[in-house]
């Protein structure tokens, strides 16, 4: 297998893009990434997306986006893993270059969630769960996470306020990210009085629905001849799975796909959690940040929330997460999110994260989860 580097990134702002279609968003992100990489060609393109068919009536995104960006004829496919499709697409793109099959690969993630009514989008997002045994009971995706959060608080004797730091950190960081959906910090008072979506989860524990696209250009590290100073190497790319339904898990409070995917990634990159300078976790809900920190090995079981309370998750802390706003405040255009995370990791390792720069960041990890971590794609980037 060959070493693979990210040589270009492109992002559109996450927001309600009433004036732009899915294909326009994806095309803008891809063209920006190609410009950043100084390439005008690619051998293949992989698109992370979850709900284009359901919400915009459009499938076959591989052919559509390849043509729109001027690459008609190349290999192009959509990769789906619910809200983790972006990480999945990056994994496929990585394998395509690492295997020696292709020399220039574009990975994009694109999602348009605001084309439809709120209730319809809520119902569509629930397709990430088990249709016959979870969704049919009216259990929304938020409710699945709420079931975990209540149980977690019960087992570890916590209150909702113990999770506040995750939301506050995300919003504070998003304020400095031009691609983020929310650009204003929030206060503890706002967190405490936020409207409930599915108790104990409030709107300020939940990532917002938004439209957006991000893209990356991948090339073999050896082909760069050392003259691409802003290239960042992908040191690990792994995917692992768990049962789709919560009820089928021996211990629903332990995200075993996160553990498996992280451990495989640490082994592939030859690092330990202590070496990770930036961790872009899949903070779709505060409880997901907490449980991911534990399963990925950054905190003891039951101690994930304390990393937040003790200030260790900020860009100045020991385990900086959501450094550009995370899913919570950059926004969560589901199938695109994993590609945004990778673009943000590259931004940190290039030292271009501005006010959110993690000092001396050298190793960054991203994690893209599909469903309630039924699918986990982990990537480690090294500068």
């Amino acid at each position: 297998m060959r070493d693979v580097s990210v040589v270009g990134i492109g992002q559109t702002q996450v927001k309600e893009h009433w004036d732009k279609s899915l294909r326009q968003l994806a095309t803008s992100a891809v063209l920006n990434a190609m410009k950043d990489a100084h390439v005008d060609h690619a051998d293949a393109l992989y698109v992370g997306n979850m709900l284009s068919g359901e919400l915009t009536g459009q499938e076959n995104l591989g052919a559509l986006i390849a043509d729109e960006v001027g690459l008609r004829g190349i290999e192009a496919l959509k990769v789906e893993a619910a809200c983790g499709g972006g990480g999945g697409a990056l994994h496929i793109g990585y394998l395509a270059v690492a295997s020696g099959q292709f020399d220039v690969v574009i990975v994009t993630g694109a999602e348009k969630l605001t084309e439809s009514s709120n209730c319809n989008t809520t119902a569509s997002l629930a397709m990430a769960a088990d249709a016959d045994y979870e969704t049919v009971h009216g259990i929304s995706f938020v409710a699945l996470n709420a079931l975990l959060m209540r149980r977690y608080m019960y087992e570890y004797d916590l209150v909702p306020e113990d999770f506040a730091a995750f939301s506050l950190n995300a919003h504070a960081n998003a304020a400095n990210n031009p691609y983020a959906m929310f650009r204003a910090p929030i206060t503890l008072e706002q967190y405490k009085h936020a409207r409930s979506v599915a108790d104990p989860i409030s709107v300020l524990d939940s990532s917002p629905v938004g439209d957006g696209a991000a893209a990356l250009v991948l090339m073999p590290t050896a082909s760069l001849n050392g003259n691409r100073a802003r290239a960042v190497k992908i040191a690990a790319s792994t995917v692992a799975t768990d049962s789709l339904a919560l009820h089928a898990r021996r211990d629903p409070l332990w995200l075993s796909a996160v553990e498996l995917s992280s451990q495989k990634a640490y082994a592939q990159a030859g690092v330990t959690p202590k070496d990770i300078d930036v961790f872009e976790a899949h903070d779709a809900f505060s409880i997901m940040s907490v449980m991911s920190l534990e399963a990925a090995g950054f905190a003891e079981r039951g101690r994930g929330a304390y990393l937040g309370r003790e200030g260790e998750i900020t860009p100045q802390g020991k385990v900086p997460i959501s450094t550009m706003g995370g899913l919570k405040a950059r926004g969560h255009p589901v199938g695109a999110t994993g590609v945004y995370q990778a673009a943000e990791a590259v931004t940190q390792l290039r030292g271009e994260a501005g006010k959110n720069q993690v000092p001396n960041a050298r190793v960054a990890m991203t994690q893209s989860l599909g469903g309630v971590a039924a699918n986990a794609a982990t990537h480690i980037f090294v500068n």
Binding site: S117, N118, C119, N120, T122, A123, A126, D132, Y133, E134, T135, V136, H137, G138, I139, S140, V142, A143, A146, L147, L148, R150, R151, Y154, R195, S196, V197, A198, D199, P200, I201, A245, L246, H247, A248, P252
Partner: protein
């Protein structure tokens, strides 16, 4: 959801029919074709008695399409006495009085209606047991 799909799930929805592994004795709900414990494919139907304890619960204030009319409603995970966990709506209860660990039992209720003239889907929900003998 169509007629055939709901018909196919009737044994699970009305009788909590799952499966027991003939090789290692592990019980599963819903039924599956391969035992997760020993990987045997020799499994036989098993009807659960529908009693268990409340593992967790949540009251929804925002619903998926088709469930808005029921808001606010409460969902939960019940750990059956025979082992497996089941996710369902909770009924006949005041959510403020629910407690993790309390005894629950299965009842049959209407799960959803598909529009004005659509199919009405029935299935299991769970409710607290007041006095269990």
């Amino acid at each position: 959801m169509d007629l055939a799909r709901n018909w196919r799930l009737k044994d699970q929805r009305y009788r909590l029919e799952g499966i027991v592994c003939k090789n290692c004795g592990a019980k599963f709900f819903p039924p599956r074709q391969v035992c997760t414990e020993c990987h045997s494919q020799d499994l036989t139907p098993h009807e659960f008695d529908g009693h268990g304890i409340l593992y967790s619960f949540s009251t929804l204030h925002q619903a998926p399409l088709g469930y808005e009319g029921s808001l606010p409603y409460t969902v939960g995970i019940v750990k059956l006495d025979e082992g497996p966990m089941v996710e369902a709506q909770l009924t006949d209860t005041n959510p403020d009085e629910l407690k993790i660990g309390q005894r629950m039992e299965m009842v049959t209720r209407k799960l959803r209606e598909h529009g004005e003239e659509g199919l009405i889907v029935y299935g299991y929900k769970f409710r607290p047991i007041a006095n269990e003998n």
